[in-house]
């Protein structure tokens, strides 16, 4: 699980918890207000009706504010998703351009992409229905074209770009 998706997951959990809480609160409010109205209809109107009114207002306010809080959480989650998707798209463009630059063949592009995603040789071979030896040879050619020593440097190529730009823009 990546750091980003952990954050999104936490937000999702919070929104589900908020929704459950809101549901319980609404049920409580409806039952309470119903009970108070039944009291009034039956003529049991004493001083305690004012307290019941106060509680009813508090419950209704709680439901309203809870709904707004939930909506805000959901909107934040959505904004995160959009930002994440555009960052992903941007990174994907950078990677695709770089692959073209290195002159990777279509098969090599696929393998390189899977290698970047962290799959090992056996997994890539299984996914592509090729022998492990074929994949290993393709990886060797990819590293040679990219001018890197191995998988770690290959992955670092793109991460380094991101980090470097981040620092530059801050300075």
């Amino acid at each position: 699980m990546s750091a980003v998706s952990t954050g999104v997951l936490a937000g999702r959990r919070r929104s589900i918890a908020l929704a459950l809480f809101l549901l319980v609160q609404t049920l409580a409010a409806v039952f309470f207000v119903g009970d108070a109205i039944a009291d009034i209809v039956e003529g049991n109107v004493g001083a305690h009706i004012y307290f019941e009114l106060l509680v009813a207002i508090a419950l209704a306010l709680g439901v309203g504010l809870g709904a707004l809080a939930l909506r805000q959480t959901l909107e934040e989650l959505k904004a995160q998703d959009v930002a994440l998707a555009s960052a992903r798209g941007a990174l994907g463009d950078v990677i695709a351009a770089q692959f073209t630059d290195w002159g990777l063949t279509p098969a090599e592009r696929d393998v390189a992409f899977l290698a970047l995603k962290g799959l090992d040789v056996a997994e890539i071979a299984e996914l592509r229905g090729r022998a492990a030896g074929t994949v290993r040879a393709q990886l060797t050619r990819i590293y040679a074209k990219a001018g890197v020593s191995g998988r770690a440097q290959f992955a670092a190529w793109f991460v380094e770009d991101l980090l470097g730009e981040g620092l530059d823009s801050e300075a």
Partner: protein, 223 residues
């Protein structure tokens, strides 16, 4: 459930399926899903499981009232897909959607599709009638009804004397009509629910998009 195989093939396929267009639809928000299944449970529970007029039946009805109120509030303050303004009732558009569906070319809508929207309003109206007539029939909160039943169970039949007076109301034409409406609405809402499920199944099959999945509550983590 044919989508399950393509959807569950884990993150491995994500890299390769860039060109694949079978992206699952976004989920409905959690509150909408909760109220949806809550109301479904209330309707089915009160139809099949509880004793008519019993305290559990009444309590479930009140829970349905709470769920309906919450969903209606959510229709004003919720996220865009849940708001009424995203799916205003439009019978003509609903018909067009159904005709399009029969030709296998119904567009997808971010909120309810026009036919689904009409169904949602019909279900809510039916539910409101059910709850309203239910309230008129009992006039009691579930707490009071439970107290009453507990008293009778304890052998104190005197509480029923009061009931006896109300029982005369029940035999009045008005009381009979209310009861009749409650029963008709109960059967109608089941019919509507059946049509609703049928609509979801048909559109999911014909258009090849799984409309059930976005409404499910169970977490399905990719990875």
């Amino acid at each position: 459930m044919t989508e399950a195989s393509s959807g569950s093939s884990s993150r491995r396929s994500k890299g390769l399926s860039q060109a694949g267009q079978a992206k699952p639809l976004p989920n409905w928000d959690p509150l909408l899903r909760l109220t949806h299944w809550g109301i479904a449970a209330v309707v089915l529970g009160n139809y099949a499981l509880t004793k008519e007029g019993g305290s559990v039946h009444i309590a479930l009805g009140w829970a349905g009232l709470g769920l309906l109120v919450l969903r209606l509030i959510w229709g004003f303050v919720g996220p865009r897909e849940a708001r009424f303004t995203s799916f205003l009732p439009n019978p003509m558009a609903a018909l067009r959607h159904l005709v399009g569906l029969s030709k296998g070319q119904a567009p997808h809508f971010p909120s309810h599709n026009p036919a689904g929207a009409m169904m949602a309003y019909a279900l809510w109206a039916c539910l409101a009638v059910l709850i309203g007539t239910g309230l008129l029939m009992t006039g009691a909160t579930p707490m009071k009804q439970a107290e009453l039943e507990a008293a009778v169970a304890a052998g104190d039949w005197s509480v029923l004397v009061e009931e006896g007076e109300e029982a005369e109301d029940d035999e009045s034409p008005f009381g009979e009509a209310i009861k009749e409406v409650h029963e008709v609405a109960a059967n109608l809402i089941l019919l509507l629910a059946f049509l609703h499920v049928a609509g979801v199944v048909v559109e999911s099959r014909v258009m090849g998009r799984n409309l059930v999945r976005p409404m499910l509550i169970a977490a399905r983590r990719r990875r």
